[in-house]
Amino acid sequence: QDIGVSMALFDDNFLTVLRNGLDAKGKELGVGLQIEDAQNDVAKQLDQINNFIASGVSAIIVNPVDTSATQAMSDAAAAANIPLVYVNREPVNVDTMPDNQAFVASNELDSGTLQTKEVCRLFKDAGKTEANIYVIMGELSNQAAVMRTKDIHDVIAGPDCGVKVNILDEQTSNWSRDLAQNLMTNWLSTGAAFDGVIANNDESAIGAIQAMKASGVDMATVVVAGIDATQDALAAMQAGDLDVTVFQDAAGQGAGALDAAIKLSKGEAVEQKVYIPFQLVTPANIGDFLAKN
């Protein structure tokens, strides 16, 4: 029994953990997994699915590059009558999927919201009524980056925040630590005062932290938030540099997706939608997450 897996991206911290979860579960159950790297290319991903179909796999797991591109994938798999499971990102056609397709994912709306609300809370606790922040976005062509940035705007514009937060500037680091470092240094060179940095991912947050430390900024006075809860981020949090991050159970999602795929290939019924929630990570509960990602 062979199962084909198409991952959106290999060299992504979070997706690697998910992939490792899949792999471990596969070894445990003794199923052969063939994992392909779509390198963030929707078209390549669709081709990979067609290649799996040509090889006659018994089920396909897809970590979609683009959740709005899933219709064509569902169609291809349905035509060949091969079960399909989406993992980590919710497909657009979730309501019209055929019976032998399912998804296991988190709701991307939650991550940015959790993160920004916690930042608001920290500002409030520090007794501020108004705060200036910088926002570091991920790659602009990526949906997660767009969603998370939108969440930030929604929360600070909404009633839940309680503090008046001004965004001084909003730029992209393409998810990368290095560009985030340069970006932060450029911001520091303008001399404007700020109270926090919200980044779309942990790598960018760490880059900002490194730049601030190099310029002698007191890390206790700024709030820095990321998303992913990577090991580097947790270490930064332990060191008191990073204040907020968000954890999502990558390994759990991977294992869950494989379970569903195997059941579908045997013709068993599964629950079509499985949501796995995001969890907020702060210095208070960091201990629960150290061994997870």
Partner: protein, 358 residues
């Protein structure tokens, strides 16, 4: 006097010993790679790469595999047809991948349906303007115009400001990617009309690729346009002195190349039923590699569309072969790099041994 059909006397000339067309080498490389996959499959996996081994189907070949081999390269292949022409004139086009991204976004936004599953289209870009459910000709023309405009800019920069094509198209690459992201602020655009969805459905991309390849093969071989492409790539100054309007010709070449990239974007977005700003990343390098593997010289002046098509097929076979062999994804990239280099080394080596006199 039988020699006069070939020339004007002088040395002894034996027309039967004419050099083999370089495309043959590429063809042999393609066949060689297929045989290697087939052999590995038979020997180590008890499965066949090309032939059908499943009981529920009764065709000789594994049809699904033959189809995907061509299908997965036909879109980059369409781009490569245009890139080949640019390279033959001695230029290079790094912008095609980004033009795919930008065109896909723009064209798709004119191809959206009003209602999805009974709800208003959540991603409608021009929903406020009511520009939905437009006839398919609108997004196609809009898309092609994007390509033509990009090509005009590329071509004019190269022809009239005399900056290196590498830089002109690099600038376009960065700019077009920026436009793609800006168009819908990074959001993907989905839910096209049924008629738009037909353009890239099933094996249609393959059909379009083949038609375009044949068309441009004839153009490059039999028309003034083609002859002048080779002349410019061979010696631009001489071509200019021969009274050819090299600048205007170059603009035309870049317009055709970008037009084909835009067309590929339309097919691609239709095939995927979505457009996103990251589409087409690195396609320019794949397209160039296909052309060069197919024997097109980056010096300009030499190569053919046929060669590029063979180069594209080599790519297709490699990708499918890797999945067939269940090669670990980590190794796929490493091996792909080696095969690209290997195919060109082989070609080079055969050409050299030929020029040694036999």
């Amino acid at each position: 006097m039988s020699q006069t059909t070939h020339g004007l006397g002088g040395l002894k000339y034996d027309p039967t010993k004419k050099a083999r067309a370089p495309e043959w080498n590429v063809f042999f490389a393609l066949v060689g790679i297929i045989i290697v996959f087939e052999l590995i499959g038979r020997l180590f996996m008890g499965d066949s790469f090309l032939f059908n081994t499943r009981d529920n189907v009764d065709t000789l070949f594994n049809q699904a595999r033959l189809q995907i081999i061509i299908l997965q390269v036909s879109i980059v292949g369409i781009i490569a047809i245009g890139v080949t022409q640019v390279i033959i004139t001695g230029g290079i086009d790094l912008s095609s991948g980004s033009i795919v991204g930008a065109t896909a976004m723009i064209a798709m936004s004119f191809a959206q349906v009003a209602m999805v599953n009974g709800n208003p289209n959540p991603k409608a870009i021009f929903g406020d303007l009511g520009w939905m459910d437009l006839p398919v000709i609108v997004p196609v023309l809009v898309g092609l115009s994007c390509g033509v405009v990009a090509g005009l800019i590329n071509g004019s920069l190269v022809a009239y400001t005399k900056i290196p094509p590498f830089i002109a198209t690099l600038g376009m690459m960065v700019t077009a990617r920026g436009i793609a992201k800006w168009w819908s602020k990074g959001n993907p655009i989905s839910f096209p009309t049924d008629s738009y969805a037909l353009i890239g459905k099933g094996m249609t991309p393959v059909f379009l690729f083949v038609v375009l390849a044949v068309l441009f093969h004839c153009i490059m071989t039999y028309t003034k346009y083609g002859k002048h492409c080779y002349a410019i790539g061979s010696n631009e100054a001489a071509t200019r002195m021969s009274g050819i309007n090299v600048d205007r010709h170059k603009v035309l070449v870049y317009v055709i190349a970008s037009g084909l990239a835009a067309f590929a974007a339309i097919v691609l977005s239709s095939k995927n039923l979505t457009a996103q700003a990251g589409m087409g990343v690195m396609y320019e390098l794949d397209a160039i590699a296909m052309a060069v593997i197919g024997g097109v010289s980056l010096q300009g002046g030499r190569g053919s569309i046929l060669g590029t098509v063979l180069g594209a097929l080599i790519f297709g076979v490699i990708i499918s072969g890797f999945t067939f062999l269940k090669l670990d994804a980590y190794y796929q990239e490493m091996v792909k790099g080696v095969i690209i280099v290997g195919a060109v080394v082989l070609d080079q080596w055969r050409q050299q041994s030929r020029s040694r006199g036999k």
